[in-house]
Symmetry: C2
Subunit: 387 residues, 2 copies
């Protein structure tokens, strides 16, 4: 179980070194080198390879005088078997630094490989909070989507292919040494992923802001992320201008800094078992669940709503009633305008599985920091409404 501070004035805040800016993928090699690496294990995927980013990364790494091993045996919702195979490759080649380049899948796979090469065992041995006892090899993570936050977070999510569920691994060890974002990489992100990964960042920001473990250190980043998403989500989806994509990349970073330290809530507690069971897109699941969970949370977070309404770009009269309406309406209309999916059914979720999903969500580490204590019945009701 996560140990949540009972006293909300107690803050813990930890983020990796952060580098952010267009064109800065060129620093990928120097980052790996100054962490002491000589042979880079580069974890990425076929999409990034086809778009030419992997070649650029490999060139930068080699220009920095390092060797590089490329590993792309990973799929969306990365699997335990892929991570375990990757760890064997890392060891076989004698690599000494890991670079993850991609979305949440590539970066979480890189984290899983890092865990195994220094700790041994199976990836499922590390499920839960603070189960990693040996330091990981140096790790650089370079996100190439508008969501995930894996590049700054203390989480790694790996699919257990035997149990058809997601393993949530939470440890300060899995935050990388360096988070390096080059928003130029978003230029080649397929259209549908702009919306679905940005709604993941939106969920991170909202859940971090409502979390019982939120503090002033996390709130400032959550609010900034919300402001950036509300400014640029719809425009970025429709017109894909570089400035809007950069805002979304920046939103993802701010949201990651927030949720990594305040943790999350019911959206992610439900999204993990759904993603594990159906291999469905994580951001799409969040987009569907978010309005229902926010509606459920609102009665217990009323005092934070005026600031949230402001973050979403509205100058309200400061009353919580007005703010409550503004928050819900803005959220729903933004998701609609961005073309986010509207129902679990449309994502392939089967109705008869809902009770099992609710049961599994109750055991997810993310449920602990939900502002409203939900039981199985509450979770099932949320799933039914989102179905």
């Amino acid at each position: 179980m996560v140990n949540v501070e009972s006293n909300l004035h107690h803050c813990k805040f930890e983020v990796p070194e952060i580098i952010f800016g267009r064109g800065l993928l060129s620093q990928i090699g120097s980052c790996a080198r100054r962490l002491g690496g000589h042979k880079v294990f580069l974890v990425s995927d076929q999409g990034l390879f086809s778009a030419g980013w992997v070649d650029k990364a490999i060139k930068n790494i080699m220009d920095a005088g390092l060797e590089v091993i490329f590993y792309d045996n990973i799929t969306p919702n990365p699997k335990d078997v892929e991570v375990e195979a990757g760890a064997l490759e890392y060891i076989r080649h004698g690599a000494d630094v890991i670079v993850g380049l991609g979305g949440g899948s590539a970066m979480d796979a890189a984290k899983g490989i890092a865990i195994l090469v220094s700790n041994g065992g199976r990836i499922k041995d590390f499920e839960g909070s603070d189960k990693i006892f040996r330091p990981l090899p140096p790790l650089v993570l370079c996100p190439t989507t508008c969501g995930t936050g894996s590049d700054v977070s203390q989480f790694a999510i790996i699919t257990d292919t035997e149990q058809h569920c997601k393993l949530t691994i939470m440890s300060r060890c899995v935050a990388p040494d360096i988070s390096l974002t080059d928003p130029d990489t978003l230029e080649t992100l397929p259209d549908e992923y702009v919306c679905t990964t940005a709604t993941d960042a939106l969920s991170h920001a909202l859940e971090a802001f409502f979390s019982v473990a939120s503090t002033s250190l996390t709130d400032v980043h959550a609010i900034k992320a919300l402001r950036l998403v509300s400014t640029s989500l719809v425009e970025a989806v429709r017109e894909r201008k570089a400035a809007d994509l950069e805002n979304l990349a920046r939103a993802s970073l701010h949201a990651g800094m927030a949720f990594s330290n305040s943790l999350l809530g019911i959206v992610h507690a439900l999204a993990h078992p759904i993603g594990g069971l159906y291999d469905a897109n994580h951001g799409s699941i969040n987009a569907v669940l978010l309005p229902e969970v926010i509606k459920y949370d609102i009665p217990v977070v009323t005092e934070k709503l005026p600031e949230l309404a402001w973050g979403l770009g509205h100058r309200t009269d400061g009353s919580t009633n007005t703010a409550s309406e503004v928050v819900q309406e803005t959220l729903v209309s933004m998701l609609e305008a961005a073309g986010a999916p509207r129902s679990l059914r449309s994502l392939g979720v089967v109705r008869k599985d809902l009770p099992e999903l609710a049961r599994k969500a109750l055991k997810d580490v993310c449920i602990v920091t939900s502002p409203r204590q939900a039981d199985e019945k509450d979770l099932l009701a949320i799933l039914e409404r989102a179905y």
Copy 2:
């Protein structure tokens, strides 16, 4: 010379692990232990000793199973000779972790000692940007004032007693491993230091916000710091309620996270030579200079003023003219109400020294990120107006 990113969209952001909360000085020993320490070199001062905090810290460190060496041969505006003597003590005792407990002086002295024990030489050898090449011993910094930000910053300021000036040392190496703030320690802070250290934090936040190297990652912390100071400065000075003191401690932390990554400006570029020449209180100098420097900066930062006015607690009409007036009036009236000093003369500055101070300020590392490029004449004019 500091290498400032010419492209403002390029961000670098680095902060240590942060722990903040009332009563958390109790974690000082466990922090030193998990950094691998066995023998703690505890740097503090007589004021903290008299107030009982040093005894508490020593007990916590010993309860964690570590030995402790106490070093308190430091004075405000810590001197090169004190730091060099401290380094010899550290080596003589075979200590292996440094804990700084106190205001900026104790913490900067701790940093200076850390630099010397692993790099050798004289402290003045490390003046400027990125002159430290060997890793420092593990470092935990525990601030006990409402200002400084040394506990999170990449700066150390040491007085050169031969040249009667301040050495500004800037390096990512001098940020500690852990920043541990227990706002309870503010209970025993002498009255005059509440105002002067909080106005240091106020200067950090304002200069960070106006800095040419500011980014969204630093701005969110600068604005939060400004909001906390404007909420609690006057009340904290007058009534010393725990909640207001905690807000100021939190403001100091946010401001430190901002300025450590965006750097500062003319206030600090001028305050360093003044502090070096007269051994005057750093926060008092800042309080006197701040209104004049802000007035000088405002023409070139107009687009940031509405957000700043908002941070200071005002809902303006959004025009920059209104915001400009609001910012200046709020700042002056807040400093007045808090009883901050009003003139350089009152701090012992001698008029004939002003030209020399302006010349020295032009060479200070902090001038580089000033939003407005000042020449010697501009700096002298600011000093004259603040005299």
